[in-house]
């Protein structure tokens, strides 16, 4: 961390200033040569820059730097203005007490303790926590639920205890009671006539239903009469069908037996249903219906083994056909968004019923409310359970063709299925074997391949080495696809590009050129060129450090030779530089050349790039060879 950048009441003398960060010394440290720096500044300088004093270039290591507590004490006693001066704090404190002060400064920014990602001045913290923090806890006044403020807005829209106004009659009610109100109580809501399923299509407000029932009693009676007559006829037909099928097909009876327990309907229930019907129907109807029921019960006694299922079969064949015949407009579902008034259907809409799995049953049940209420409660759950886990039974129960058409082929299917399974397993095993073999072969091929790649790489290197050996120090490096490299270099992907190695003479020095793009400035990029010496075969008997002259040029490829203007720089070697020492690694880290040899724009504007090829020529004149 660099020095103190505080608002000092009296500007400190320059001797308290760190020469590196130019701020007032933080943790002052003194070097053995007597210079003072911030602790972090001098450590960074020694580690990242050089092992020398930044002032007099004396050689220096981290162990030659000592804390200067005298200066530290003096500096910590300097008076400063609180950094929150602009926010309103007018305290003047010694620098050493700054931290303590900031911990209690009324105007210091502190992070919200509820972690709402905001920082607020300490003096505003209370009001933030009570009024504006999105993470503060709030309690819903309706349902007393606790939640974070940011969730409250959504909650208000859905709170079950909030008071809402009925959209029909403007009555106020708690939200979770509103549904009940609309389906059952609201007098302004539009509903169907209770005789809707018998053919009355009248739609009215709920408050008008009673009047309508009185006014339309004769027509309702007619519809009821028609429906009951139809039901009685159907019962008769069903009876005869059942008798024949029960006698002739033992197979089917045994299938039915499987569901006996689940769907059994006992006689008393049947009687009960007739009894309740009596209450609401005319005597004549009751007579017809009772006759049908008598038949039904006789049948049940006859087929003792299959009584429940048979019974339900008949019932379902009736339930299937009755509504179709009964409804004047002949459709199954109830599409109009109108509420039905029957008590047991009050809570479910037409759409819900259609998806509930038993559309037909529920339809008939709703048609004959009183009778079928009992079936609904006792029989329907069992039937639906049976239907759900056996499609065969459902077919028997509800199928158009009745029992005569049904013959299951279980054993054939089973054997076919087993055969398919075994065939599939065999095939799977064969392909697994094949896959293993292919995998082994692939591994072998990959091994051979990598061996070949290595050989080719060695040979390529050998060729490069050999061709660089006989250039006699005059080496032209053609960078093909320069724009491609340029993009890569500029993106920093491959920060430098090295030429193939070359020798100053067959028995001379080995070196290469390094090119990179200098992007220190955002406005202009430059081509950097350096010469690097490399470990060569002749190093042992050559003179070191290398001494001589090196010309580096970017070759102008203008087709008109008279207008060529090569960019050339002449390097005189400097025996003190690392770049010219005998390489101890394959390529010297240190090179010698120009960070900004030529700007890229100059390259592009001149005729230096032809067909995207840049030619760099190096002529090396060694003093010894």
């Amino acid at each position: 961390m660099e020095g103190y950048d505080c608002d000092f009441i009296i500007p400190p003398e320059p001797r308290y200033e760190c020469p590196i960060c130019l701020l007032v010394l933080r943790e002052p440290h003194q070097t053995k040569c007597g210079h003072r720096f911030c602790k972090d500044c001098i450590i960074t300088s020694l580690r990242d820059s050089s092992n020398r004093c930044p002032i007099d270039n004396e050689s220096l290591s981290e162990s030659d730097v000592y804390p200067d507590n005298f200066a530290k004490r003096e500096i910590l006693n300097f008076s400063i203005r609180c950094p929150n001066f602009k926010s309103g704090c007018d305290k003047i404190i010694p620098l050493g007490k700054l931290q303590n002060h900031l911990e209690e400064c009324y105007f210091a920014l502190v992070p919200c303790p509820l972690k709402c990602s905001r920082e607020v001045p300490r003096c505003d913290l209370d009001s933030h926590l009570n009024n504006s923090c999105e993470n503060r806890n709030v309690t819903c006044e309706h349902c007393s639920k606790n939640m974070e403020a940011k969730d409250f807005e959504v909650h208000v829209e859905v709170c079950p205890m909030a008071i809402v106004v009925c959209s029909h009659c403007e009555e106020r009610a708690v939200r979770n009671k509103m549904e009940h109100h609309i389906y059952n109580e609201c007098q302004q809501v539009m509903v169907h006539c209770p005789f809707y399923f018998l053919g009355c299509s009248k739609v009215m407000m709920r408050c008008m239903v009673d009047d309508h029932l009185i006014m339309s009693a004769p027509s309702h009676l007619k519809q009821l009469c028609f429906a009951v007559t139809f039901l009685a006829q159907k019962l008769g037909t069903a009876n005869s069908v059942c008798q024949t099928s029960a006698k002739n097909t033992h197979q089917k009876v045994s299938l039915v037996q499987r569901f006996n327990a689940e769907s059994a309907v006992t006689l008393p229930v049947s009687y009960k249903s007739s009894h309740s019907l009596e209450e609401v129907s005319t005597n004549e109807m009751s007579f017809n219906f009772e006759a049908a029921l008598a038949e039904l019960s006789a049948l049940s006694l006859e087929n003792e083994e299959a009584k429940g299922a048979e019974h339900s079969y008949k019932l379902s064949s009736i339930t299937k056909q009755l509504p179709l015949g009964c409804l004047p407009n002949g459709h199954h579902g109830i599409k109009q968004p109108v509420y039905r008034p029957h008590d047991w259907l009050n809570y479910c809409t037409a759409e819900e019923q259609e998806t509930s799995g038993l559309p037909l049953l529920s339809q008939i049940l709703s048609t004959k409310p009183t009778v079928c209420k009992l079936y609904q409660s006792k029989l329907s759950p069992q039937i639906s359970a049976a239907v759900n886990h056996s499609p065969e039974f459902a077919n028997l129960l509800l199928g158009d063709q009745g029992l005569g058409e049904y013959i299951p082929e279980n054993s054939d299917v089973k054997s076919m299925f087993q055969e398919i399974t075994s065939r599939f397993k065999k095939r799977e095993a064969a392909s697994e074997q094949k896959f293993d073999e292919l995998h082994r072969r692939l591994t072998a091929v990959e091994q051979t391949n990598s061996g070949l790649i290595n050989t080719v790489r060695d040979l390529e290197q050998h060729v490069v080495e050999a061709s660089g050996r006989f250039v006699n120090g005059d080496f032209c490096w053609c960078i093909h696809n320069f724009s491609h490299y340029r993009l890569k270099l500029e993106a920093g992907e491959n920060s430098m590009l090295h030429s193939p190695p070359f020798y100053t003479s067959p028995w001379g020095y080995k070196m290469c050129i390094r090119a990179s793009i200098d992007s220190a400035s955002q406005n202009e990029r430059h081509l950097s060129l350096f010469v690097h010496f490399m470990k060569g075969k002749n190093d042992a008997f050559l003179m070191w450090p290398f001494s001589g002259r090196i010309n580096i040029s970017v070759v102008d490829q203008n087709p008109d030779a008279s207008r060529r203007n090569h960019i050339m720089e002449v390097l005189e070697t400097n025996p003190n530089l690392d770049a010219f020492q005998r390489p101890t690694i394959p390529r010297n880290h240190k090179g010698f050349g120009y960070v900004q040899f030529v700007s890229i724009s100059a390259l592009e504007n001149g005729s230096y790039l032809m067909d995207d090829v840049l030619v760099i020529r190096t002529q090396v004149y060694s003093q010894y060879q």
């Binding site: 590196i20 400035s521 960019i567 900004q596 030529v598």
Partner: protein, 199 residues
């Protein structure tokens, strides 16, 4: 830009602006953009030298690691000097390379460059041609350097003889700057300069 580099440049900027040298119009630093990574410097040619009266513009780039690494400085104004490339303006000065120290500032760098103009070091050259001329033919070097100062840095002293040579090269169809470079390189011998340009 790292925090420490940015802080440093801001404070140094104040330092240069306050300093006496600015008051005497000897050195100057300006921002190029808001980023503080690139600055524009200017130094006056030192009195009693071939560069006297010239104003030399410099490009200064501040690296991310400043002040632990030196700023990159080069001459934008063309100059004839053994330690400065006449082609690219690159400077050969130890404190901009391995002798840099973190305590140095833009002010000290600019003053050092001024000192370099006053005292060239031909034994550690950046431009071998100029260095050669400096050592072998100092009079011609000085005349050339003064001519360049007048031509590129607004120096006051015109050398009509040299200018006439450039004009005659221009009449031969050469570009003015190319002609000046060739003549300077070839010690103002028109025949050799023309050969140099044609070869």
């Amino acid at each position: 830009m790292s925090n420490i580099a940015e802080q440093r440049i801001k404070r140094e900027f104040k330092e240069v602006v306050k300093s006496d040298e600015v008051a005497l119009c000897n050195i100057k630093v300006e921002l190029v953009n808001d980023s503080l990574t690139e600055l524009r410097g200017e130094i006056a040619g030192p009195p009693d030298t071939a560069y006297e009266g010239g104003k030399f513009k410099l490009q200064i780039k501040i690296p991310e690691t400043y002040p632990f690494n030196p700023p990159e400085v080069k001459f934008v104004t063309k100059i004839w000097h053994p330690n400065i490339s006449s082609v690219t303006g690159a400077i050969c000065l130890d404190i901009l390379k391995d002798q840099w120290a973190a305590a140095m500032t833009l002010r000290t760098v600019l003053l050092s460059l001024q000192a370099l103009l006053a005292a060239a070091e031909p034994d550690d050259p950046q431009d071998a041609v100029v260095a050669h001329q400096y050592k072998e033919n100092f009079d011609i070097f000085e005349r050339t350097a003064r001519h360049w100062t007048t031509a590129y840095a607004g120096g006051p002293k015109r050398d009509t003889e040299l200018e006439e040579k450039i004009v005659s090269m221009k009449n031969m169809g050469f570009d003015e700057h190319m002609a000046r470079v060739a003549l300077s390189t070839k010690d103002w011998d028109i025949t050799r300069a023309a050969e140099y340009l044609i070869s």
